[in-house]
């Protein structure tokens, strides 16, 4: 063991001086690692990580969208229901109004018809009465004349008629009857 030789051997090696073959091998090794990881392996895992994040976040997002949609639909249904109710109320109200108007109209119509019927009846009665009165007056006149001629023995018919005796008599009678009914009242 010669310490001088050993020292000389050690002195030749400076640990701070890089050996070029090692630098080259080291860089080569690093770039092989970097190349394979950077070009192939890390992009592929990055894609999967992104997909996974997407799957998780996407699921949540989809659920949120579905919920929002459901909420919107519910709102819409509620709005439609409210509108339908409103419409129904409006239609009912309208129908009621129309019904009332119809009833009023019918009532008025009925009233009018009744009135016209009554009026027609009255006119008819009046006419019948006049006719009857005229017929009666004629009959009474002729009967009275006949009776008188029987009694007198001759025909007075024409002269009596001419003189208007009968008519006057009957009018007197009527006036008397009217006066008595007025007094009775």
């Amino acid at each position: 063991m010669n310490p001088v030789v050993a020292f000389a051997a050690e002195e030749k090696m400076n640990p701070l001086l890089p050996a070029w073959p090692e630098v080259i091998i080291g860089l080569l090794c690093f770039f092989i690692v970097f190349g394979l990881l950077g070009k192939k392996l890390l992009p592929s895992i990055e894609k999967v990580l992104a997909d996974r994040r997407d799957a998780i976040e996407g699921g949540m997002e989809r659920a949120e969208i579905a919920q929002r949609e459901a909420q919107a639909l519910l709102e819409q249904y509620r709005a439609e229901l409210a509108e339908a109710r409103h419409e129904a109320a409006r239609i009912t109200e309208q129908a009621r109004e129309q019904g009332a108007a119809l009833v009023a109209e019918m009532r008025e119509e009925g009233q009018r018809q009744r009135e016209s019927i009554v009026a027609a009846g009255h006119a008819q009665i009046e006419a019948d009465k006049k006719q009857a009165t005229a017929a009666l007056r004629h009959d009474v006149g002729s009967l009275a004349s006949q009776l008188a001629s029987r009694i007198v023995g001759e025909s007075l018919e024409d002269s009596a008629r001419q003189s208007g005796v009968i008519d006057r008599f009957l009018e007197d009678l009527e006036a008397k009857a009217a006066a008595s009914t007025a007094a009775a009242k």
Partner: protein, 272 residues
């Protein structure tokens, strides 16, 4: 080289209080010097190179198995990969750079896991060597970071704007500038990549040396005398240090990527 081999061979038989007259075979820089596995021309192919390749292979194989056929519902391996990926992406890159950082996530993820696995090699049986304790590896990675943030700075701000971004801190009174600008220039352009590389290197270097010292000492102290007690304590320290190193290995990978992200964030900062 033959001297180193002789010293290595003599280590095995050397014990505390032994009568063959040898002292403690203190491990030194020779622990970081490997005899070549094979030689191509003047280039030696050594164990750290092999380990670096194995580390790259491990990272690629792991992420291939985890992410090559990703599923929406992840399997166990994919879940572990996703946790690692998400950790670097969210807690380091996006936290430091913000939304613009998305573009640099693959680079930072690759860097983090590559460095971490190279560090972990320190405590893997048979490997037992942190690749990052060979300064060539951190230097290579730090230069990648340096080129990235320098080119981003000049691409975003142009040459003058880029220099201003690197050397002209905002909100400082004018008369301080003639001191501060050279300091900023020196710190941001020259020191940054150097510290980035040396920090990772030195931590792994020191950690490995500590573990080696205590494990060699455990063996050396193992003797029928009082040494057995010392040996046991030394072994306990080795185990403790191994656990501690596991933390440091992670931390150094984290710090490396964190700083790289913050340099990129600085480059992408709006002009002020």
């Amino acid at each position: 080289m033959s001297a180193v081999l002789t010293s290595l061979a003599s280590e095995g038989s050397c014990h505390f209080g032994g009568d063959n007259g040898c002292g403690f075979p203190a491990p030194g820089l020779n622990e970081f010097d490997f005899k070549p596995i094979f030689t191509v021309g003047s280039v030696d192919f050594t164990k750290p190179m092999l380990l670096a390749m194995i580390c790259a292979l491990l990272v690629v194989v792991f992420f291939w198995a985890a992410f090559a056929k990703p599923k929406l519902l992840p399997g166990k391996l994919q879940l572990v990969g996703e946790i690692g990926y998400d950790f670097v992406k969210r807690s380091i890159v996006l936290e430091t750079i913000g939304k613009k950082g998305e573009k640099y996530v693959p680079m930072m993820v690759s860097m983090f896991f590559f460095i971490w696995i190279m560090n972990i090699m320190s405590i893997i049986p048979f490997a037992q060597f942190p690749v990052m304790s060979r300064i060539a590896f951190p230097v290579g990675l730090a230069s990648v970071v340096w080129i990235t943030y320098m080119s981003l700075t000049f691409k975003k701000h142009g040459f003058v704007g880029g220099m201003k971004n690197l050397c002209w801190p905002s909100g400082i009174p004018g008369w301080v500038m003639f001191i501060l600008v050279p300091i900023e220039f020196f710190s941001n352009i020259i020191v940054r990549p150097f510290t980035l590389a040396v920090r990772a290197f030195a931590n792994m270097f020191a950690g490995h040396l500590l573990i080696v010292v205590f494990s060699v000492a455990s063996w050396y102290l193992l003797s029928p005398t009082l040494g057995a007690l010392y040996g046991t304590v030394s072994f306990g320290v080795t185990v403790g240090l191994t656990g501690f190193e596991l933390l440091v290995q992670f931390l150094q990978a984290y710090i490396f990527v964190m700083l790289a992200s913050s340099y990129i964030a600085g480059a992408l900062e709006e002009a002020h």
